[in-house]
Symmetry: C2
Subunit: 569 residues, 2 copies
């Protein structure tokens, strides 16, 4: 169906378009990039009226028989990095848009001052409804209210107060299978871009929609089955993820000394065992009730790497708890219990905040002496400051770079304006290269090398590892698969090629995957060049270049010349 | 004598060195650049231990018979721009260092935590003295105390609380002929760099010093006389400056619609007449007492463009009031009386703050609704917040970019992280090119085109104008002359060539001036390239590119391609 919805927030109009033929083969990240490259003044102010916010589905959206294929990409010019940004999340939105035939929603302009809207999308099209009583609401109330108005089955993407206020650490929450806005398009300040447009939420009702047609139905069914079987057979997607989820990484990353602790001043955390994947599993089992050690965030996903963390009463409290959050909102700020991390995590999901950017910001605030590492009461105090939008709250809301600047902290764990994920680049040097060279800034999802068998602290070969991981991530984000499907898909690219061939009814070249990923990165580099994004060489902060990280004593020492030469797409 | 003092704040040692022969012909800005290029890791954190702070005199320092030649340059990597910075001021320090034979003082390292020092320099050399009771003092108390300890004739460069705390809008105050720390090395956050080194002040006692020897004494005397006569004969340096000082520009800049008003939302100010150079002159004359319409900030200056503003009781209150301050701390924040501007100006001199960065920051705060334009009580409140180092005070202290980020303001009057001077680049387009392309960021002193007869709003030819002005400024900052001597010196470069020839006893090539300026800029570009400073294209904020400025309706429209092609040294 290739429907496109174009929303002009300045004129308050919604218009149906058709996806141009030459973009039909793209989805998700690659589709966002093309639109932003074609339509955006790359020099525009990310929070001003000339930026755009693009929601794009993957090419299998609506086809729930393809596991993990319902990701929703949000593309924009990031107020954190100043460059192009794609932030994708799980949940139910992608598949529902797919069932309505929508490939993309482009939001441009800014609503008149003090006017706020909800974009409602259903079979008949899109419409802007006044966000009466909704502006100011946190994400859970926002989602609950919208479900009350539009029916229990709708999917919702909403911002919280953080995004409304233009806090740069804000994300966009997408509802999961149970209707909680827990699946985040988290990074890059995308919540603030949405808030500045006066858009509180997108509501998608797929009633009357249908699975999109594919060119070769039988071939498609067989290919989908092969993918799902491969996912279930692979040790990571078939065992580690469904059992421990991403938190399974805590023990390993802590053991190699790369687990950010006390504002990245150490690489191992004394209480790592208390917030490990194993501990999380045991705790969920022990508490019973509504807790789930394995959980799907979207229909049809066979990996089920998500979880539902229950409180001591067995009531569902936070879903999911991910590795990154355990690092940034756990060890990095000294919180050493799952209940404490879950409390911060839930607050983020509710207030509309990226847990990575928040944890890094709190770490900087603690380094500045505003709060004590490991003190949950102090953390609560800082979160309340944000809730109340006090001056301190606004300092924190501006994210890690802003907080460090104002609070006078030199140890700033960011690259290209965005907080570093929970793999210290001084040890996981492949990820360091990704942070430094990805058009997306410090973002592990742009090229994560942690699961590759390598001596992570050895700088040798890490540029090539990052290079490969970045291409693969760009491809997977573009077809709209979950990154967690990456391992088996990377090992056998025919799994995706076959699916693409049966959907489009066309031959797919053997180098499809690499060409796709390379093309996407190339587009992003082109955008960033035009936007005047700073060159690679100055991006890695002194913290990582000069300060030896205990216990390994490692610094980020991949030679700059090697990085500059090789990683340019 | 070519003495160099090297101060290691980490080891708390002071060491005498001799200026390398190949640097003998350089002074001020060019000398700072060479040292920073040779010694600094360009990727270092500007506020961290690996940055350096260089004080360098001009090549005529100590030779007071050369008018306006006692500027003192401060060089460092700027925490605002992330690039190389040279900020120079008048006052008595340059000539006194010259009389002791010092060409340069290099301050490296950081003092141990909570230890603060004063660098005392006299004939016997330099020594670090504990800044007992001085840390925390404002600049006037600091200077007064140090004069009490070291004698009434010493020259002092001091930071205030702003620099101590690492506020990025901080500068370094240098004492004038009357001993007030009123002559500022203001821009680039140099005060914070000094503060982070644990250095409160530099005290120079030139007792026992002597005028440096020159190669050709008679020739020198004649050349100095020619320069001084040319300065007195030129309409700008012989009439405008001594009569009205830089405030003489207010009427003209306001008339062409380039006078920043209410956070650069307008180019003309309804109360411009109340803060004009003519009004300043009349007020000083009318009030009598200690007020001075003309005033030298350093010995031997025949231009005497400075002034002493007296309060209603005729007591000296603020010296000098400059055009930039009338713009940024006057019209830009809506203050329309000289007394109000003088109050803010005096506070800046006392607290250790750059009036340009402060005024732009307050304008942003007013745009955010934190204070009202034109409300002196509100301004006082904001200054008190900084005094008390509250969260709001720290937000403001972080400068214009930091405040805008935290307070959510999109209209940010900065280029390369530094506040724009009081010539709106949408009208004075030559200065716009300077802001955008100077290695120094938005700084009118890096290439001011305002006095050139041209249609300022016409983009045609402005790249070339800026180019010439930048070369000239770099040369003049390097020989250590005051920029205000620029007009006659630019018109007759022999004035300087003859002086240089007689000082060094060497032939000076005909293209000396252009070669010197070009070489300096080339060094600065090289540093910034290595530091990973963002490319030119993304530097000009949307405010100036997109928002038409009343009353002219002009935007900054010098073609980017032309800028990128031509202005690269």
């Amino acid at each position: 169906m290739d429907r496109v919805l174009r929303v002009d927030m300045s004129a308050l109009t919604v218009r149906e378009e058709t996806l141009p033929t030459d973009l039909r083969a793209l989805g998700g990240r690659g589709l966002c990039d093309k639109v932003l490259l074609a339509e955006l003044d790359p020099l525009c102010d990310p929070l001003g009226p000339h930026n755009e916010l693009v929601f794009a589905t993957g090419i299998f959206a609506g086809l729930v028989s393809v596991s993990s294929s319902g990701r929703i990409s949000v593309g924009t010019k990031s107020p954190l990095t100043g460059g192009i940004k794609e932030s994708n999340g799980g949940g139910t939105l992608g598949h529902k848009l797919g069932r309505l035939g929508y490939r993309m929603v482009v939001v441009e302009g800014q609503a008149p001052t003090d006017q706020h809207f909800v974009l409602k999308i259903d079979k008949s099209g899109g419409s802007l409804l006044p966000a009466t009583g909704l502006w100011g609401a946190r994400c859970f109330v926002s989602a609950e209210t919208l479900r009350g108005e539009h029916g229990p089955k709708v999917s919702i993407a909403t911002i919280g107060p953080a995004g409304e206020r233009g806090y740069l650490l804000s994300g966009i929450g997408v509802t999961d299978m149970e209707g909680g806005p827990n699946r985040y398009c988290a990074r890059g300040g995308v919540g603030a871009v949405m808030g500045k447009r006066g858009l509180k939420a997108v509501v998608v009702d797929d009633a009357g929609g249908a699975e999109p047609a594919v060119a070769d139905r039988e071939g498609f069914k067989a290919a989908a089955k092969r993918l799902n079987q491969a996912l279930m057979a692979h040790p990571i997607t078939g065992d580690t993820y469904p059992r421990l989820g991403t938190p399974g990484l805590v023990s390993f990353v802590n053991q190699i000394g790369a687990f950010p602790t006390h504002n990245f001043s150490r690489g191992s955390f004394e209480a790592a065992d208390e917030i490990s994947g194993e501990k999380l599993y045991d705790t969920i089992v022990e508490r019973g009730g509504q807790g789930r050690t394995t959980h799907s965030c979207m229909p049809g996903c066979v990996i089920r790497s998500s979880n539902v963390f229950a409180n001591k009463l067995g009531r569902a409290y936070c879903s999911p708890i991910e590795f990154e959050t355990l690092g940034l909102c756990g060890s990095n700020i000294g919180l050493g219990t799952l209940d404490a991390v879950a409390e911060v995590n839930r607050w983020c999901n509710d207030f509309g905040v990226d847990t990575i950017e928040l944890g890094a910001t709190l770490g900087v605030a603690m380094d500045a002496g505003i709060a004590k590492f490991g003190d949950l009461e102090d953390v609560r105090h800082l979160l309340r400051e944000m809730e109340r939008d006090t001056m301190l709250g606004r300092i924190l809301g501006s994210g890690t770079v802003g907080a460090a600047r104002v609070l006078g902290v030199s140890r700033v764990p960011t690259v290209l304006g965005q907080a570093v994920s929970a793999y210290d680049p001084r040890v996981v040097k492949g990820n360091g290269v990704t942070y430094m060279t990805s058009p997306q800034g410090a973002d592990h999802t742009a090229g994560n090398t942690i699961r590759i068998k390598t001596e992570h602290t050895d700088p040798l070969g890490k540029v090539a590892l990052s290079h490969g991981a970045q291409i693969s991530a760009a491809a997977i984000d573009t077809v709209g698969l979950c990154l967690f499907a990456g391992a088996p898909v990377g090992a056998n690219q025919d799994l995706i090629r076959d699916l693409v061939a049966t959907v489009y009814g066309e031959e797919v070249p053997a180098d499809y995957w690499t060409c796709l990923g390379t093309q996407v990165l190339s587009d992003e580099w082109a955008f960033n060049d035009r936007a005047g994004v700073p060159p690679i060489r100055g991006r890695m902060p002194e913290l990582y270049l000069k300060e030896a990280l205990p216990p390994t004593g490692s610094v980020f020492d991949v030679p700059l010349e090697e990085i500059e030469e090789v990683v340019r797409f």
